[in-house]
């Protein structure tokens, strides 16, 4: 079978490419990135000019990369839900969603197409920001391949954020509530996944965390932290070769995950799995055969 474009992706890209929003978005994105770059550079220079510093500015330029990367990650995490959260509710508001559902597109491919188009749109931005990133790489003395890995993580992150947005879009009638709900969802994924660990620490008087950290596999913050640590220092969040914990302080699985790069890969797999589950939930929700009562249509 010939590999073909998801029609929704094609249409969404056609439509965005023609809208002024894309140009303005790109402009804003570039501006923020450049400002971050210049600010980081000036801070690094200032700190190295200070009295106590060794005066070696080049050693610190390596930090340009994580600063810029974190800036990009934050922008992506903030923008993607806005794009996808408005996608299904936007189609509903425009009353084109019904027509889409009567075609041979399955609800899952509709939902997937919406997320893919958001990911591709984000990649426009990331690719446009590439020269600045490359500059940070070169002056920081990092390998090129890391840039590639970084783009992969951005895709991963935007798939997750997009899936969160699309589920909220399927749940809400209005785009704006969908956006707000996605940020509430962020709080669950980014914040509440820490909860078991804190509870366990509290209960054991900070002696043993057991396996309570495993939920953090789904947390992009820890994923990125581990990713950057591995890139920059070759160490893990859990210390060099997991030295932060002794064997009896954590559970068996956590201990082994904290060795080497296992955490990054497993975390990526977990995040993908979570995204898939969210996509399936969204597809289930938009399928009219699954909801017993139809929504009330607006009349002009």
């Amino acid at each position: 079978m010939k590999l073909r474009w998801n029609p929704i992706v094609k249409k969404d890209l056609q439509v965005t490419a023609r809208s002024m929003r894309l140009s303005w978005g790109l402009f804003a994105y570039e501006a923020v990135l450049t400002m971050t770059f210049l600010m980081a550079l000036s801070i690094i220079q200032q700190s190295s000019r200070s009295f106590y510093s060794s005066g070696n500015v080049y050693g610190k330029l390596i930090y340009l990369f994580p600063v810029l990367a974190v800036a990009q990650v934050c922008i992506v995490a903030m923008i993607v839900p806005v794009i996808t959260a408005s996608s299904i509710s936007g189609e509903k508001e425009r009353q084109t969603f019904d027509i889409m559902l009567t075609t041979c597109m399955s609800p899952f491919s509709i939902v997937l197409g919406k997320v893919m188009s958001a990911v591709l749109r984000i990649l426009f931005f990331v690719v446009a920001g590439m020269p600045i990133m490359a500059l940070a790489f070169v002056v920081g003395g990092l390998s090129w391949s890391y840039l590639f890995y970084f783009v992969l993580t951005i895709i991963l992150l935007s798939v997750l954020s997009g899936s969160i947005g699309i589920l909220c879009s399927a749940l809400c009638r209005r785009s704006i509530t969908a956006v707000i709900l996605s940020y509430a969802f962020y709080f669950v994924v980014y914040g509440l996944t820490f909860l078991p660990m804190f509870l366990k620490l509290f209960m054991t008087h900070a002696e043993n965390v057991g396996e309570s950290m495993l939920l953090l596999l789904f947390n992009p913050i820890i994923f990125y932290e581990e990713f950057f640590m591995q890139l920059m220092t070759g160490e893990s969040v859990f210390g060099q070769n997991g030295s932060m914990f002794s064997r009896d302080e954590v559970g068996f699985i956590t201990y082994h995950l904290s060795q080497g790069r296992a955490w990054v890969f497993l975390s990526a797999a977990c995040i993908l799995l979570l995204s898939l589950l969210l996509l399936m939930a969204a597809a289930w929700k938009v399928n009219p055969m699954h909801s017993s009562s139809g929504r009330r249509r607006k009349k002009k």
Binding site: R4, W5, P7, I8, K10, K11, Q14, V15, R18, S19, R94, Q95, T96, D98, I99, M100, L101, T102, T103, C104, M105, S106, N287, P288, M289, H290, S291, S292, S293, G294, R297, K298, K299, K300
Partner: protein, 322 residues
């Protein structure tokens, strides 16, 4: 409903079978045990006042709404509502629909075509033919959001025909159109009908449907009141046709000769017009005219009331009509 049989009589195989369809919204019943059978090649008009449940029924048939009970079958297959087999057989034009900004007519068609898994080149060829059919050939490179309401409506019909469905369902295709666009839409539908498509149209304007449909179903408050061929329905329920007779002179003898005839009920007599209900064949009408002329009545007009179907509708749907 026994009325279903009357449509079937001596015609093609069934295209759409709706059996005992029910839809509840909480305690409110929007569609109440509706059974309907539409033969292949029909142009079926679905009439009812606002809130009758037409849109609900149509959305269930198109797989956009889950029924609370009953079944729908199309084209003799036993495929479930909302399945791909079923979706391929239906072309749906909703009552209200939007279009995308920044998308050209050609791309619009291409998008929906590829949603049916069609090849881009096939779509391009079909698009040309279909745009020709709906009279939009010159708009191919225009943006869809710049088209007028009528054009969008026709574009939506072209879109619904892309995958060559057996059954075309249009929900109030002429709502919001000006008279000219209505006529164009009507011509288009008649044209499609003559090409052998089975078409279902919903509307609350009966006279509009009666001009093009060959069968209709009247719905009110979720129930199908009657369904069948237009002629049959007229006969069946009105129990007579309202006639206007304009008379220049000889009024008394006209009234007298009318009263002698069986099957005639005089409704009102004005200065030079008689309104009567007549329950008979067209040949009897000509005999009647001959008789009156013999009796020295000077006739200046003799016609069947235009709105009779409309008044039938009002009579059937009772207080529900607005």
């Amino acid at each position: 409903m026994s009325l279903c049989g009357s449509i079937e009589k001596g015609r093609g195989i069934g295209m759409l079978y709706i059996n005992d369809l029910t839809k509840n919204y909480g305690s409110f019943t929007a569609v109440n045990h509706l059974s309907l059978h539409i033969p292949e090649g029909d142009l079926f008009g679905f009439v009812g006042p606002n809130g009758a449940g037409k849109t609900t029924t149509i959305r269930i048939v198109c797989g956009l709404l889950r029924a609370s009970g009953g079944s729908v079958r199309i084209g003799g297959t036993s495929a479930a509502v909302g399945s791909k087999v079923m979706k391929r057989m239906i072309g749906y034009v909703p009552d209200f629909f939007g279009v995308y900004d920044n998308l050209k007519v050609r791309e619009y068609m291409d998008m929906y075509g590829s949603m049916y898994g069609m090849d881009s080149r096939d779509i391009a060829k079909l698009t040309d033919d279909l745009l020709e059919l709906v009279n939009l050939s010159d708009k191919k490179e225009e943006y869809v959001d710049t088209l007028s309401r009528g054009m969008k409506q026709r574009l939506c019909v072209a879109r619904a025909l892309l995958h060559n469905p057996k059954l075309l369902i249009l929900d109030e295709p002429s709502s919001g159109l000006d008279p000219r666009a209505r006529v164009e839409m009507k011509e288009l539908l008649k044209n499609l009908h003559s090409m052998g498509k089975t078409i279902v149209i919903s509307s609350h304007i009966l006279s509009e449907l009666s001009e093009m449909c060959n069968s209709i179903g009247i719905m009110n408050r979720g129930q199908l009141i009657t369904a069948g061929r237009i002629e049959d329905i007229m006969q069946q329920i009105s129990g007579g046709k309202r006639m206007h007779i304009q008379v220049a002179s000889g009024m008394e003898s006209a009234v007298r000769s009318l009263k002698e005839q069986p099957g005639i009920r005089i409704e009102s007599v004005r200065e030079n017009e008689i309104i009567m209900l007549f329950n008979g064949a067209d040949e009897e009408i000509s005999a009647l005219i001959g008789l009156m002329i013999q009796n020295q009545v000077v006739l200046t007009g003799f016609y069947r009331e235009e709105g009779s179907l409309e008044s039938l509708f009002m009579q059937l749907t009772g207080g529900g009509a607005q």
